[in-house]
Amino acid sequence: MSATNVVTAIRDALHGEMAADDRLVLLGEDVGARGGVFKVTQGFVDDFGEQRVIDTPLAESGIVGVAIGMALHGLIPIAEIEFADFIHPAFDQIVSEAARMRYRTNGDWGCPMVIRAPCGGGIHGALYHSQSIEAFYAHVPGLKVVMPSTPADAAGLLRAAIRDPDPVLFLEHKKSYRAVSGEVPEGDHVEPIGVADIKRAGTDLTVITYGYELHRCLEAADRLAADEGIEAEIVDVRTLAPLDTATILASVRSTSRALVVYEDNRTYGAGAEIAATVAEEAMFELDAPIVRVGGPDIPAMPYAAALEHYYTEPSPDHLYVAMRELARF
């Protein structure tokens, strides 16, 4: 085990996979000499050459469309979208093409590829460098959507995504890149896609979350335990699609209280599916109503510090308070 941050864990895992399998090619804007705007692929073009590390034109639909073609002809493309906010022009290629290739051919053609996209806010990125996009894609049958929050999960899930026979949207919360560090298992460690992880054990309530909110929830939960002895169990969804309902429901049944926390704007967000699933499957085992804490229903985070802060921290300790209130209900 060695301690590292999320961006390094991703870079190392990506570099290892590239070295091990020359069917892998990277393509995206500025991934070459620049090493990506977040330096995830720094040095890759020197190590693997321009044929495998492709600086593409400024065209997201083309990036994904070309990657699909590569996947259809024996390669395993890893497309990088510079910011998740700029994936929208590729919506049709992802939804109509990558996600549906296998189904529409009755299993004849497959589309093994990964689309990496740095998402989320809190880094002063304003409306178009802060977006959460998981809700749009988790709804698409044929596409897997993964969102790790720790270095170990990032490395293990990226390996799984690259080795998956189907298209995987791999979301990296950019605030976690350097802010979050942790142990990463040595060697060829793979985390299975579709399995949630209990990041904190507890008995008084279950908090279901993912992305950078996981770290805010963990921080609040530890303070709440210290202050009041309330122990929150925290489930890190990790994979939005397919959703691990078994782990979520088992935890909720054990605590009888469910709090769903996500950064994306609340309405019709991914947390709605989680809350709805709990309501359908475990309602009569709950001692309190299901509570969702999502972002405000505005188009992503504004730029000015005061406005951005309002988005991530609408009120002081809002997560701490939400947990305490639910536990006490």
């Binding site: 083309g62 590569m70 109509s96 189907d166």
Partner: protein, 338 residues
């Protein structure tokens, strides 16, 4: 006559009489399948069909220059002629028309004429127009990366050239000098929208220069001319000289699909005028002029193909429908996939 004294066009192209008769037969097969499909549609046995009539020259001409088993095909829904050359049989075509379980393209999941077959190297396409253009570039990139002596060819209508994906796909292919051939079947309409509302230029091929690739205009009713430009584009691609944009001037004789009423947007006179340049008649005349064909053999081939099509319809109609229990399958890979 002249053809006897000087070298005939097909000889200059290195095409043998056998090659020519195969091409003619493919054209005739496409036409007869087209007519038969529409009859099936009117009989209520085929809810939806896509006509090809008028496009046989450019489709079979361009497709015949490729190498089945080596090159990769990215057709669009109009390309019955292309997929016949690629290797789909009339029986397989009608399995699709009747959306049967054994339909090679999708097992009855997609509409008819949404072609695909991994075995034949026919890449599955969807309904959204022009999405297959970047796919062709990506496949060509993979071909070069894997040192294959192969090309990817993608067909599309002139309407498809307006989509952003078309632009992005051609640009990427040109930047990397990829072995890909872009074939536009310009039939003057995108459903009802005439070319002058689709673009402000006369020739789609004009756009090639803006990407840094050659653009060629060819008469789509001249199957040999289409073969020739495609053969040259193939040679360029294999020589590492990059992509080519070929524009075939053609015309669709029938409505856009069995759901369309083309009388709302074009006159019968206009359609009749274009039928005078029927690519099949033109090629038949050529074959007869060069003593490769006569009315007798023509009739014989016609009857033979007609019989083949009728047999295909009968067999396909009796084939098994998809089992509803399979509807949830293949959303993701299964054991045997990948």
């Amino acid at each position: 006559m002249s053809a006897q004294v000087t070298e005939a066009p097909h000889e200059a192209l290195g095409l043998s009489p056998v090659d020519l008769l195969r091409m003619h037969r493919h054209m005739l097969t496409a036409r007869l399948i087209d007519e038969a499909s529409l009859r099936q549609n009117r009989m209520g046995r085929a809810p939806f069909v896509v006509p090809v009539s008028g496009h046989e020259g450019c489709q079979i001409g361009t497709a015949s220059a490729l190498r089945p088993g080596t090159d990769v095909w990215l057709p669009y829904y109009r390309d019955l002629g292309v997929v016949l050359v690629a290797g789909l049989s009339p029986y397989e075509i009608f399995l699709g028309v009747f959306s049967k379980a054994d339909d090679p393209s999708s097992g009855g999941r997609q509409m008819p004429s949404h072609w695909g077959s991994k075995q034949l190297g026919i890449v599955s396409h969807s309904s959204p127009i022009a999405t297959q253009i970047p796919h062709a570039a990506g496949i060509a990139y993979a071909m070069r990366y894997r040192d294959e002596d192969a090309v990817a060819a993608v067909w599309f209508g002139e309407g498809a050239t307006s989509e952003g994906d078309w632009h992005e796909g051609l640009n990427f292919a040109a930047i990397h000098h990829l072995p890909v051939i872009f074939v536009c079947e310009n039939n003057e309409y995108a459903i009802s929208v005439p070319q002058d509302k689709q673009m402000a230029v006369r020739d789609v091929a004009t756009r090639a220069a803006g990407y840094g690739m050659p653009g060629v205009v060819v008469d789509g009713s001249d199957v040999l001319a289409c073969y020739e430009v495609m053969r040259d584009a193939l040679a360029r691609a294999l020589a590492g000289e990059g992509p080519t944009l070929i524009e075939c001037k053609t015309y669709r004789y029938l409505p856009h699909t069995s759901d369309d009423d083309d009388k709302t947007y074009r006159s019968r006179e206009e359609v009749a005028e274009h039928r005078h340049h029927d690519p099949i008649d033109r090629f038949t005349t050529y074959l007869i002029e060069h003593d490769l064909f006569d009315h007798e053999r023509m009739q014989a081939m016609h009857d033979e193909v007609k019989g083949e099509v009728e047999a295909a319809i009968a067999a396909a109609w009796d084939a098994a429908d998809p089992d509803p229990a399979t509807v949830l399958r293949h959303v993701f890979a299964e054991q045997d996939d990948r």
